[in-house]
């Protein structure tokens, strides 16, 4: 099996699996219980919190666990709408966000908020100046992803947020870091973000767990209510096993960020070089992009058809973002892909255990597909 769909989800690492199992078997108590068993579960929670905080180079009090990045994004957006949205009714975001940002924002738009969507320029890039100039006194929130999940393009978040914060210190800056966390060298302070969303299962941890970083001094209001867990921000008994698994995965990989990055750079460069030799295959390039994701257009073959063809050969890729399940991608359209390219672009997303032979195999099978499949116009 060749798995090139690591931006959709990753295979949990052994450390994470072990931590989840052990917690389920031996540390299954409720962390809010006053007794010693509860304390033990709470300690597991806090040690994961510390590991994740360290990976973002921040304090553990700034990390709040959620059920995943979708919840983190929703919490960040709706909370800001509650805290500042009464007087400031403008939100600045981009046209290439993940649905877990674009949909909540759209919901607010339907309920009276003004939303500015920054679109990529002709070369498919977001200009930081566009983000900065869209923010004004009436803005409550700026929300930009760090790495685009469909193309790997890295947005100039740090630069834009630095200027935004200087000009409008009260505007809340939110960054969906799901495809950047543990893959790029980032820290909460260098991003200048007040809120950062993270996910467990994109970095070799279990599904069903994520986190929201909340900068000290930033007020977050809950969107669901209950037992007051996570300092009242996210009620509901914490998923201790998943959280322990998330922590274990981060711990296992936090020392190898640079090393893995280097490996991915080599891999994606290799893909680009080799793809040049295949007619009709283009690797879509940006000035700043994550080597973990490659957007590949294969002329005249429908991406879904290619996906299923490759699947028969044991190669797993995705068409656009896995969340959209074959829907035409609004994101790729915003990047300026023409209609033909929209229909025939697949996403390859790598992990540390992919290698060059797998790239060779992929290209070989693409060539076979070109020969065997009926072309579209």
């Amino acid at each position: 099996m060749i798995y090139f769909d690591n931006a959709a989800t990753t295979k949990p690492c052994d450390e994470a699996v072990k931590a989840v199992c052990e917690t389920l078997q031996t540390n299954w108590s409720n962390p809010s219980s006053l007794h010693g068993l509860g304390l033990k579960a709470e300690q597991a929670l806090n040690s994961a919190r510390e590991i994740i905080a360290r990976a973002l180079d921040t304090d553990s009090e700034c990390i709040y666990f959620t059920s995943g990045a979708t919840e983190s994004n929703n919490l960040a957006i709706f909370s800001t709408a509650k805290t500042l949205g009464r007087h400031k009714k403008k939100i600045v975001t981009t046209a290439i966000e993940h649905p877990s940002v674009s949909q909540p924002v759209k919901h607010l738009e339907e309920n009276g908020f003004e939303v500015v969507y920054i679109t990529p320029n002709k070369s498919g890039e977001i200009n930081s100046a566009d983000i900065i100039s869209a923010v004004d006194d009436n803005t409550c929130l700026v929300s930009c992803q760090l790495v685009n999940n469909e193309t790997g393009y890295i947005l100039p978040v740090a630069k834009a947020y630095k200027a935004v914060k200087r000009l409008y210190p009260k505007v809340i800056t939110h960054c969906d870091c799901v495809q950047g966390f543990m893959k790029l060298n980032i820290s909460a302070s260098c991003l200048n973000a007040d809120l950062i969303s993270l996910s467990g299962h994109k970095i070799y941890g279990p599904k069903g767990v994520g986190a929201l970083y909340v900068k000290k001094g930033i007020r977050v209001l809950p969107v669901n209510f209950g037992g007051g867990q996570e300092k009242g921000i996210r009620s509901g008994t914490e998923a201790v096993p998943n959280i322990a698994g998330f922590g274990a995965a981060v711990e296992a990989f936090s020392t190898s960020i640079d090393e893995r990055y280097q490996k991915m750079v080599e891999l994606s460069n290799y893909l680009c070089q080799q793809a040049e030799t295949v007619e009709g295959v283009t690797v879509n390039k940006f000035s700043e992009s994550s080597p973990y994701i490659a957007s590949v257009t294969v002329d005249k073959i429908k991406s879904e058809t290619l996906l299923h063809y490759l699947e028969q050969k044991g190669i797993y890729v995705s068409s656009g973002s896995a969340c959209s399940k074959g829907k035409k991608s609004d994101v790729l359209k915003a990047f300026g892909y023409d209609d033909k390219a929209l229909d025939s672009t697949v996403r390859l997303s790598f992990s540390y255990d992919n290698n060059k032979f797998e790239i060779d195999e992929f290209l070989k099978q693409v060539k076979n597909a070109q020969a065997e499949l009926v072309k579209i116009n």
Binding site: L34, L39, E61, K162, R166
Partner: protein, 392 residues
Amino acid sequence: MKEIILCKYGEIALKGLNKRTFEDVLMKNIKRRLNQLGKFHYTRSQSTIYIEPLDDNADIDKAIDKLKKVFGIAKISRSIECEKSLDGIKCTAVPALEDTLLAAKTFKVETKRADKTFYLKSPEISNEVGGMILDAYPHLEVDVHDPDVVVLVEIREHNAYVSAGKADGAGGIPIGTSGRAMLLLSGGIDSPVAGYMIAKRGVVLDCIHFESPPYTSERAKLKVIKLAERMAEYTGRIKFRCVPFTKIQEEIKNNCPEELFTIIMRRLMMEIADKICERERIQCLVTGESIGQVASQTMSAMVCTDVVANRPVFRPLIGMDKSEIIAVSRKIDTFDISIEPYEDCCTVFTPKHPKTKPDIKAVEAGQAMFDFKPLVDDAIENTSCEFIEAKR
């Protein structure tokens, strides 16, 4: 671009013949605090310590965060090192100050010319650099009386250093220059603030905590340890002692008059702490009391507790209101921990109507209804001890 950190002393600069001793201790404290962050080179002159990172990995932002918690430093600034010429300043320093200068509306330039051979005099340098800044940042205006930002140019032997804006240091005098104290640490809001304040005056801090399981929980103790970790960011490593206090509290409850529970308990805590101080040669005790805050902190109550101590009991919060204490606890980041809702040793067996003006004779008589000595000795014997380090 190379940056260095400048730390200006506070009142150490005023010390006479002892100045050197204070400086040495401060330097040692700074080095200890920064040693995990990379290699630095330290020099001092004219009441300033210059800290120069020696490798590229040294994290200046983090170093400054740490330095802000070192007592004895009044002001901290980061300077940009540039070539000792107007051109050097123009090319290196002026663009590097972008962040600070874009956020300001008015500024002025001050110059210190340590190297008197430099061809321009201080006011001339200020004029020139002011002109460069105005050219580069046209939104700025000069205000020599009340500027938003003061740009400081220092012309030194080899290089010029330019900085914009200073941050406040922790103030006080270096830890280790004023003796050693034992803080009675409960887990409330006040005692960590008291510890911080006494440490600020150069005192090395030990902590003592009383636990009464099962009336108090493991979480209560962990909370106190967390508080000590926060204090340790300012005080350095803390020797933390935990006294098993259950039996004593039970016997007070069983044998003494109810309205005197709290006062007798506090006398016994004080006695135990005092004896440990005696053994460890610690010179004084510190508590977080403030006159009249609660029934056990009236002047009469303090008179009754003080008599059992054979050394001074310092109460740095004595004249502070609760709101002022909370402001400090927020500043040192202990407030959120202090308000975690666990029973502590002071809240167990609280009498309904405590005596607010206890009479020392009556208290002594009440306490004499039971022989606490063996229990006190036992508690001291079984006191645990660990070192607490700052976690961040």
